[in-house]
């Protein structure tokens, strides 16, 4: 009875194991599913049929995929509405429906084809550079998102909402850039120091809300949001200071990072993909190991799932909170550092970190707060970003549509019941009663 009454009502008591985290992260999609399957005495279902049934059942993969499809459908509608020429054909749709349909199809299919060509592969590519270019672009956008996504996911597994990845990334980019152009160090060492400086900047910015939460109970959501502002305006102020600002410029741009502190390119010039993506994969592996195979991760997950039980079992909840935020901050800081150490930019500008911190929240959500899930989600977002650039220049669809697509995907994933209802998935009845992470936020 007490079990029934203690449904996870607060977000502080959510994920623990990988599966659990996945379910609670995005509306328990398949909780009652296993209950149905073992009892069914269906005689000899073919393997293929079983596979199809399971595929169509409401599992996380299917829901994610269908969310993508739905988001693209809505995106298509938006494209049609926002294009005056195509819209004009709808005024005489009763007379000549083929005009409207053809125009719409051309517009939408070209746009999405460009999205694909810009992010994965362009069949018209004639040389190796052109063939690799889309992938290179995708990886360039992916790398920092992996870090900020991991930052948010790690904190979430520890029961904390790190809305401050943006600020932590900003502090990371500041320290990394300063180390990059102020320290006269030999190549190799210079890069290492700059990267570590980025991690340190983020870690400090994570430590502050962590220690405030641990010592005073101040809520980390409020504090990380406030620290985001502080970091952004600190960056704006810092850029125009003597010794930081580019002496040859009057606008807000800092000196450029020395080439000795730049992450080497993977495919060589002119392709932009840099070794940041390698670091991202390593970081994903490290976070996965930390969470699942280390004593610290055990503590972190226990504190995240049930701080009271963790405390009773002798763990120091406050120490864990601080550590979580320091680690999360360091990850976000590493992500930020890539914005100047990689190929995206070489100097600080007020908007140098773009939205990677906030996108990190979406990436963590989409990746269902599992490390490898986050990496894949970051890859998807990176691809959308890279493809969006081409879609803008070739099809004239504004880049903002990509942001809308990203938002739609996350919305559909956060509301799995909606996706399941639309596609008539074999939904688990109990799943309807479950709360989703989206509500917790």
């Amino acid at each position: 009875m007490s079990e029934r009454n203690s449904q996870p009502s607060s977000p502080d008591k959510e994920p623990a194991s990988e599966d659990q985290a996945a379910r609670s992260a995005l509306g328990n999609t398949e909780r009652a599913e296993p209950a149905n399957t073992p009892g069914e005495p269906e005689p000899h279902p073919t393997l293929g049929r079983l596979f199809l049934e399971n595929l169509w059942a409401a599992n996380t993969f299917t829901v994610t995929l269908l969310s993508l499809v739905l988001a693209m459908l809505v995106g298509a509608v938006l494209m049609i509405i926002s294009d005056p020429d195509v819209l004009a054909t709808y005024s005489y749709i009763t007379a000549r429906p083929s005009d409207a349909i053809n125009a719409s199809w051309t517009l939408v299919s070209e746009a999405y084809a460009n999205l694909f060509k810009g992010s994965i592969f362009d069949p018209a590519a004639t040389n190796a550079d052109a063939a690799l270019s889309p992938i290179s672009e995708t990886l360039t956008y992916t790398a920092p998102l992996v870090f900020t996504g991991l930052s948010v996911a790690l904190a979430f597994r520890g029961g904390l909402f790190n809305i401050g990845a943006q600020g932590q990334a900003t502090m990371g980019v500041i320290l990394a850039a300063l180390a990059g152009f102020l320290l006269p160090l030999p190549p190799g060492l210079h890069l290492l120091v700059a990267v570590l400086a980025g991690a340190l900047g983020g870690a400090i910015w994570g430590f502050i809300p962590g220690i405030l939460k641990a010592r005073t109970g101040a809520h980390e959501v409020i504090n990380t949001i406030m620290l985001n502002y502080i970091a952004v305006y600190f960056l704006t102020w810092l850029i125009v200071q003597n010794g930081v600002q580019d002496p040859n410029r009057t606008d807000a741009i800092s000196r450029a990072v020395d080439s000795s502190a730049q992450l080497p390119r993977i495919f060589g010039e002119p392709l932009r993909a840099h070794t940041g993506i390698v670091l991202a994969v390593l970081a994903t592996w490290a976070v996965a190991w930390l969470l699942n195979r280390s004593t610290l991760g055990f503590e972190l997950r226990a504190v995240g799932a049930n701080p009271d039980a963790a405390r009773t079992a002798g763990m120091s909840v406050t120490r864990t909170y601080v550590l979580i935020m320091v680690f999360a901050g360091a990850l976000a800081g590493l992500g930020g550092s890539q914005m100047v150490l990689g190929t995206t930019a070489a100097a600080l500008t007020p908007l140098v970190v773009a939205q990677i911190g906030f996108d990190g929240i979406l990436v963590a959500l989409l990746g269902r707060v599992k490390p490898w899930g986050v990496a894949l989600a970051a890859l998807l977002f990176g691809a959308l970003q890279a493809g969006g650039n081409r879609m803008q220049s070739y099809s004239g669809i504004s880049l903002e549509l990509v942001t809308v697509l990203q938002a739609l995907i996350v919305i559909f994933i956060a509301a799995p019941a909606l996706v399941k209802a639309i596609f008539q998935l074999r939904a688990a009845r109990a799943a309807r009663l479950q709360t989703s992470l989206a509500k917790g936020w």
Partner: protein, 539 residues
């Protein structure tokens, strides 16, 4: 169900009693089958349908707003309004109604009292009044006695009798056999979601227990006389505050010896929780000392206390004892994950954890589909066994079990009790805190009764239940050498009726069993405050 009948629904935890009743109350939808009321099939889409059909429910956990008055709570969801569209609350009418219902069934509820000031027993009556004002014919009481003192339970049974006399039907859900026998007209036993039999109240306790569990069970705890050794845990002048900074433990002295079970009896909320948490380092000790094997442990971290050889079964397993989303195996190492062989340096060793889990699942008879199943999917009894297994699988000097069998089925109770006694027999000092008097009496070699943050008596386990019950209500026989203000305690009780009726009994019972003060030791070392000093804060 017949009109004017008390039908007891008996079953182990997880047997499906509450689920069935939630279906009846419209909270859950039945998969198949139907509910017949007066021969008509009833379709319930929600509690409001159930209320309309004359079904009321008193939940195990009260559904009351603590800062509202009794009347306001009862109005809630069925507000009477006047003034047409303006919709003013008609408090006066609601208040009159409450007073009337309370009067009619002799429930003695003050309509203007604020809920949080009322003792649980009265809160429960408020719930009953709430159901009755909705004109119900069938009242479902879900484990109503779980939080009550023996005296309050008696009163509840009296209330149930008067409801029955007024023609109301009652479904009484419980797993306490004594109460069922005392009041039920008909007993239905449920096991694993199926009715396994109906019995009349004349059936013996053992028969009923056997029906519930599906096999014969021993209801009494078999144990040899204790052979107490050296004191292991010594507490002197302990003062602890609760979460609201109100004094909860007010100068407690206790000694637990090796090889004995000291039971702490008391109605919930008299400082037992805070006492234990202070020992465990989960709550700051404001004054006094806690000594384990001659070593001061107050001020230590919980981890250090656990490492020093203290095993701890917390009172609320789902909040403090287990991480529900974690697997059984992970929960079995929740306080040992970083010690060899389970962890080495920073890395966990899942194979060791799995191996030890398999062993202990076997050894402690934990019924689970696998060691990797989330512990939240286990029944209450098996969850509790996981905690007991975790705490008892390392060498202990002191074993503290708070409410070790709350919400646990009969079969598991039997098993847990035998492990507790086994631990005593191998020379561990055992401290059991329970609001279940039978449990304390069954397990303990000495019983300390806690009331309002103090130990008001330490008695032998063969002391009559009534006497311990009175102690639990704060009434010390005058003959004993309690502190001078003990005599005034009854007037301070929040429920004067309990005190009044109890007082009459005292005169006949008092002194027949001398309260043995021998272990309320005077090992104060100067830190202990004058107990009188803080008394004012309570009043």
């Amino acid at each position: 169900m017949e009109p004017g009948e008390i039908h007891a629904l008996l079953g182990e935890n997880g047997a499906g009693k509450s689920t069935l009743m939630n279906v009846l109350y419209g909270l859950y939808q039945p998969d198949e089958g139907e509910i017949l009321v007066d021969g008509e099939p009833l379709k319930l889409r929600g509690p409001s349908d159930a209320i309309a059909a004359g079904i009321g429910m008193v939940h195990q956990h009260f559904m009351l707003v603590p800062v509202f008055t009794v009347t306001e709570n009862i109005m809630l969801g069925a507000e009477q309004v006047r003034g047409g569209i303006a919709g003013f609350l008609d408090r006066r009418r609601a208040r009159r109604e409450v007073a009337e219902v309370s009067e009619r069934y002799n429930l003695r509820v003050d309509p203007d009292a604020v809920i949080e000031d009322l003792p649980v027993g009265v809160q429960q009556r408020v719930e009953i009044v709430k159901a009755l004002t909705r004109d119900v014919d069938l009242l479902i009481l879900d484990e109503p006695t779980a939080v009550l003192t023996p005296q309050e339970t008696e009163e509840l049974l009296a209330v149930m009798r008067s409801l029955k006399a007024a023609g109301k039907s009652i479904v009484f859900i419980t797993h306490k056999l004594g109460e069922v026998k005392a009041i039920a007209d008909r007993i239905t036993v449920i096991r694993r979601g199926k009715t396994v039999g109906t019995a009349s109240p004349e059936a013996s306790r053992d028969e009923l227990a056997a029906l519930m569990v599906g096999r014969t069970v021993r209801l009494t705890v078999d144990k040899a006389p204790a052979t107490p050794g050296e004191p292991v845990l010594e507490i002197a002048g302990l003062v602890v505050d609760d979460d609201r900074q109100v004094r909860a433990v007010d100068g407690v002295d206790l000694t637990v010896r090796a090889g004995e079970v000291l039971g702490v009896a008391g109605v919930q909320g008299n400082g037992q929780t805070e006492l234990i948490e202070a020992i465990m380092g989960l709550r700051p000790v404001l004054a006094g000392t806690v000594t384990l094997d001659g070593q001061r442990i107050d001020g230590w971290s919980t981890k250090k206390v656990l490492r020093a050889g203290v095993g701890y079964v917390p009172e609320d397993r789902s909040v403090d004892g287990l991480v529900k989303e974690f697997s059984v195996a992970e929960n079995l190492v929740l306080d040992m994950y970083d010690r060899p062989p389970f962890g080495r340096g920073l890395s966990l060793r899942p194979d060791e954890i799995g191996r030890s889990a398999a062993e202990r699942i076997e050894q402690f008879d934990v019924r689970t589909s696998s060691a990797d199943a989330p512990v939240g999917t286990l029944s209450g009894g098996n969850q509790q066994k996981v905690i007991v297994a975790r705490e008892l699988s390392r060498p202990l000097k002191l074993f503290i079990a708070a409410q070790p069998t709350r919400g646990v089925d009969v079969g598991s109770i039997e098993f847990i009790h035998s492990r507790v006694i086994h631990e005593r027999d191998i020379g561990t000092a055992v401290l059991v805190v329970s609001s279940e008097l039978d449990e304390v009496i069954g397990l303990a070699d000495r019983v300390a009764v806690m009331y309002r943050g103090r130990i008001i008596g330490v008695v032998g386990p063969d002391t009559p239940r009534e006497e311990i019950g009175l102690l639990m209500a704060g009434i010390t026989p005058d003959a004993t050498g309690g502190s001078p203000d003990d005599g005034t305690v009854p007037t301070a009780t929040t429920d004067p009726d309990v005190a009044a009726t109890a007082d009459a009994d005292v005169s006949s019972d008092a002194g027949t069993q001398a309260i043995t003060d021998r272990d309320v030791t005077a090992t104060t070392d100067g830190v202990a405050p004058a107990p009188e000093g803080s008394e004012d804060k309570k009043a």
